[in-house]
Point group: D2
Chain length 294, copies 4
């Protein structure tokens, strides 16, 4: 049975009874936060996990909504892990993908609202503000195809050619298979991103092969597809899928989200943005970052 | 098996194999819109449908998102049916219930943004605007208990005692059992409304018995409870509920909504607001109403 | 020459060459924040400052936008001064006045988004959350007459009669005479508030005489009336007003605001809300308050 | 005395006592809407009006807020005039400039929310929707330098190189000299746009010389600079500027806007968006356009 998920860790869990050739993984726990590192090293791994070769890091935290301590721990772990995927030097372009008019899809755009863009800050301005060395950071919210008429990848490609960053960080809302993951999990990968992946639309791929620079994907699952959830339930209940194709069809276009999805998106966008800022600007304190971006 | 729905029509469907003592119902179709009128006339009906005695009118339309013609037909039918539940004369208080910070719960507050409030318009002002006779209409957005510390019913009670309307219209987002109903159905009832009904909290009841004036409830289903959906699937798949209590528990607090829920809420709020304005101000043309409220 | 201001301190400055009979005032400075206390004690003072008898406390800070330290100092001073105006015990109703759809008028409604309402929190819940004693606080956003058809004072009156608080705090955006005051000044007064004051509309007065409980007004100037600014400039330039009545007329309905008015409103709403929460809940730490409201 | 305005018509009015060498202009009135066409043909005109050579069309309407008839007339006139500046064929990129987080600057981004982007609509989809021929239109909201770290012109340049439109339409909020122009005037020009013009930052110029395709600028004045207004008043009052430099300095960063600026921005964005859609899609009816974009 097939299901929709953007998380490598869920693909792996689904296949956990099999021997996972071409996949290396390990776990770690820090401050109550679970870190899972998965590496897909060859085509066997790609087939098994339906994901391209590369490194996937998943952070699982207790719900980081409304608990300042958990928020801070999760942010620090995320920031540290992100650093391990980034080139040590060079300018960075951060892209906030998704549709800001759709609550569960607005993670990327909302995150960019708190990004500390520095590319335009001259040495003079920086010194007059009393700030240390700054890594050059730019940000863009490319919008969505239905509203712009332009593929996200085309806009990013155009900007990358112009400003020539050393790498791109692409932030996007993800789909998970399990509702427990909503608002509790963060995935990073050095493999780029395929908006609408699985549809076989190569034009839309945002990765090193199309942009010429490494693309780090950062995502937080915000929805479960209702068809996936239904199929899951049917499978576990022992019912055959065949009998329920109409049931499944009626769930198309439906999404499962937590009641407090609006608050989760706000908090997750904040966590990702502050984590990126912290990873990119080691010379700035958390207080300095906060006073600039908010 | 119990499930969560705010729709009388779904309660009736669920029991349709039984003889529905104490329930009278009939159907009608107009302009492609289906109208179902259900009347619960005694305690037998109340028990069968888990709803208080009174009249329930349900309008079912094809999805009224983005089709101007359908929107207009559905609005007209809604307005006409609403009129049949309202007292012919006297001032009206419209209350927009729900939490404006939660996308799927913001129907009431968003609807009030387009309400044509007239109570404060003096005869002089009205005549200088070239408008005909106006029915006195007031509106209020009471907020939610978690943010105000005050029961919705207490705020409405306080305002009703002060401004003494002849009736109250309470607009709220509803839960349905079936996803097909989201963004396609409108329910009206002359029975008032119990926010968090079923919890047995009589304090929060908004009805004639607490306010002293008739309360017309108007609602649009915007979510399906994930537990209800899961239980439904399990039932239909022939699986016993007992084995899946943990599965169901993990769905608690999860809601199923259409992908385009943000747009549906906006359109539904508009439809309800314009329908209420039309029902209450027969002397004004649609154009006059629109030019005042938007 | 008359001008529009809601600030007692500006009325006093304007008359500073005269002997101010019926007015007592003193200044103080704390942490770089200037505190001015003005008391109008009789009708002579009322006439001179065009304000009712009572205590007015004005806090003047350097712009508290984007400087975390200044924000914190200003918030603490505000909270302490507010406490001096509040009854020591008893439940409190906080009202967020103004129109949330008009940027410069949205201070009150935005402030209420961060109010810590506690009236509905039972002892059991409080203890299970590990919180200390809580003062009972309720909040309301009454909206504006043009949208609700109901005077703000009527809604508050209705709610006060129902929930019987020991006092009301009314938060509202104010007009100043000087642009330097925008985003830098906070005024508190124990005299209540007259939305649209000066118009002689006694119905709309929100004060002890209409509500039966003390009303503390809290406001931040967010606009300067363009007519006031123009008249001011003309006066200082030595030109007579008479020649410029048309000039002044063309400024009617125009407001002067800082470029960053959107950010100022957000920050000021946050400062006022956290200051109120701190003043009302001495048993909670700043961290506990923040983790509950945001 | 120098003042800030983005309107060619105000530059011309200011110099109207002089002989305007290098400037050709004419007026017309249609449906109560005044149309002024100014052409700057050489360097003398450029110096006199402080604007580059090219055609400037100004539309002056009675306030188009809340009057459906005026809105419709102004939209039609705008659409017709815009057509006269556009190439007859070829794809078009529409850019919504400005900061969506600052009320008075959000015209461009808000306008793009209602743009009918068609570049991604395949012939198959178009025909299945029953739509006629569509001109290829794409849209982008580039954001502002302070938030993205990228010059607006760089982002547009990158996208133009990628999607190769036949022309660019750049929508932006403007500054006027006179408050009467706010919410009543629209300016179009075939000269491109210089965000922060006058600062001598050639990098930021968005025009044919930098992009390689014609750039039509469309703008609506939403603010008057308070320094400009003050200087204007002083000049008219006969006072010398010299004495008031401190007065002027204290107005820096202050803007004059109408009270209802939020509503004006919403309506103007709607008018510009629908006008652009109408000009670009002559095969679609107003109803078809509306049902697609809203």
């Amino acid at each position: 049975m097939n299901f929709r998920t953007d998380l490598a860790i869920e693909r792996k869990e689904y296949n956990e009874k099999e021997k996972l050739d071409g996949v290396i993984s390990c776990c770690e726990e820090r401050d109550g936060i679970k870190i899972t590192r998965i590496e897909i090293i060859d085509e066997r791994g790609e087939r098994l996990l339906s994901k391209p070769c590369g490194r996937y890091i998943t952070i699982e935290a207790p719900p980081f909504i409304r608990d300042a301590g958990l928020f801070s721990s999760a942010m620090t772990v995320f920031s540290d892990e992100l650093k391990s995927l980034l080139p040590e030097k060079g300018s960075v372009l951060v892209a906030g993908l998704g549709n800001e008019d759709i609550t569960a899809d607005a993670l990327g755009p909302k995150c960019l609202n708190l990004l500390l863009a520095t590319r335009h800050i001259s040495r003079e301005l920086r010194e007059s503000l009393g700030l240390g060395e700054l890594r050059s950071v730019a940000g863009i919210v490319p919008g969505v195809l239905g509203k712009t008429g332009i593929e996200t990848s085309e806009i990013i490609f155009g900007v990358v050619r112009r400003i020539k960053p050393s790498c791109v960080i692409a932030v996007d809302a993800l789909a998970a298979r399990k509702t427990q993951r909503l608002g509790t999990t963060i995935q990073m990968a050095d493999t780029g991103i395929s908006p609408g992946s699985g549809v076989g639309n190569s034009r839309s791929r945002i990765g090193r092969e199309t942009l010429g620079v490494p693309v780090i994907a950062v995502g937080v699952p915000t929805v479960v597809d209702a068809v996936t959830m239904t199929a899951d339930i049917l499978e576990q209940s022992g019912a055959g899928e065949g009998d329920f194709s109409e049931k499944l069809k009626s769930q198309e276009g439906m999404l499962v989200t937590p009641k407090e999805i609006d608050a989760i998106i706000d908090r997750a966008a904040r966590l990702i943005a502050l984590g990126i800022n912290t990873a990119l600007q080691p010379e700035l304190s958390a207080g300095e970052i906060l006073s600039i971006v908010s």
